[in-house]
Symmetry: C2
Subunit: 277 residues, 2 copies
Amino acid sequence: MTHGRFSLNQATIKYASLAEALQVAVDTGYETIGLWREPVAEVGLDKAVELVQQSGLRVSSLCRGGFFTTLPGPERDAALEDNRRALEEAHRLGTDTLVLVAGGLPVGDRDLIGARERVRDAIGALAEDARSLGVRLAIEPLHPMYAADRAVINTLGQALDIAEQFAPEVAAVVVDTYHVWWDPQVLEQIARAGKDRIASYQICDWITPLPADNLLARGIPGDGHIDFEPITRAVLAAGYEGDIETEIFHADVWARPYAEVATEVADRYHRLIEPLL
Amino acid sequence: MTHGRFSLNQATIKYASLAEALQVAVDTGYETIGLWREPVAEVGLDKAVELVQQSGLRVSSLCRGGFFTTLPGPERDAALEDNRRALEEAHRLGTDTLVLVAGGLPVGDRDLIGARERVRDAIGALAEDARSLGVRLAIEPLHPMYAADRAVINTLGQALDIAEQFAPEVAAVVVDTYHVWWDPQVLEQIARAGKDRIASYQICDWITPLPADNLLARGIPGDGHIDFEPITRAVLAAGYEGDIETEIFHADVWARPYAEVATEVADRYHRLIEPLL
């Protein structure tokens, strides 16, 4: 059985090397995979490109750029440079989507509005690079519980307010159920995004009690509280035709055999999402 | 030194009995206190009313009603009955504000939209009781990380959408910085609420890393990432003239001597909030 549009984000099997992740994906019936920069860097970009080509898999996205909320200065310049490298990596790896996690408040800084303005400015600074490489800056709103320390962009509406200041081929948004399911405006904001502005759709569940480490608190679809039907229907109604990823950060999931996890999440996709397509 | 509009929410010194909490508040210069139903119930309502009157303190609010998102049936009927008792208690204790925590998704239920509709319906069911007792149903939007298991009302905008369906003397909202600080729309929603719809303003900080138990993750104002100035200025500009509470759920705070905690939070109020008044 193959999984069509369903993409295994590599972070779901975090401890796999790039070669292992590609092999697991192929062996368990995937046609597409979401990559992360760290395992790519481990083997070097040239080798990574070769491995991906040999695998025959599509690359649905590259994670991640962003973390550019620091105040103007060397740290911010370095962050923008790193994002330019990430765009180049995405291009070489054959994906048109670089996922951006904005970054939190600078240490000791409480100016949330200012940090949010710097996200818009950073997208502007990267826009021409993105356009020339044919890679979209995919702004991922993160759940508000990460606003202080990880991402100051916390709703789809806010991500779209920024993305819409640029051409659709330059800036778009990521819809990850884990981050947006609670939002009373989620369905209307997905409709507002439309086909042009949805760069990636990701499915992940919200489980309770919230695990102690809130960075590793994600659930396999079907294990938690999210009703995937209305959000998926809204994404489809918006015209989204791309891959559908799953990205599970959870220590228990990471401890399991890679192929077992890859198969289980695909089973959930076939049960919960595919019937809606 | 007295603390004017600054109110010690009893949950900040959670393990104090009602008598102890009132005494601590008086001894440390408070003129007003926010009460919880459990310590009131421990001594009985009549005795609680007597203790409060003897203390000379205002009661800024009573926590809490709500938890009425269950599906129609005996459990929901019991929840509404309990809320009616809470309204009566608030009235007897001399406060016009009953803080409502909506409740989460019913066990095994993933219909977030339906649960939110039932909150509106519950407010409607309680509106006449509230009006006749002169107690406002103060809808508290809780941080989105509590959407599944504690409160399906997660933004000020959403709380106001419900409150505005009723007269201002019946339904209003609570603005607690801890819950709303991240919201890109927070300042405009505070302005929208205006004097008529802000039943309570509460100050509490967001600290990182988020403590393992997300119910006990609150910080003393000044210890975390929240800039209290813009939110406080917005609340004041809206015309709010009521008490300003602090409510700190944190095991380390609860473990300290009551008077020490009451004094420390008041110091923070004098430093961070009072200069803005």
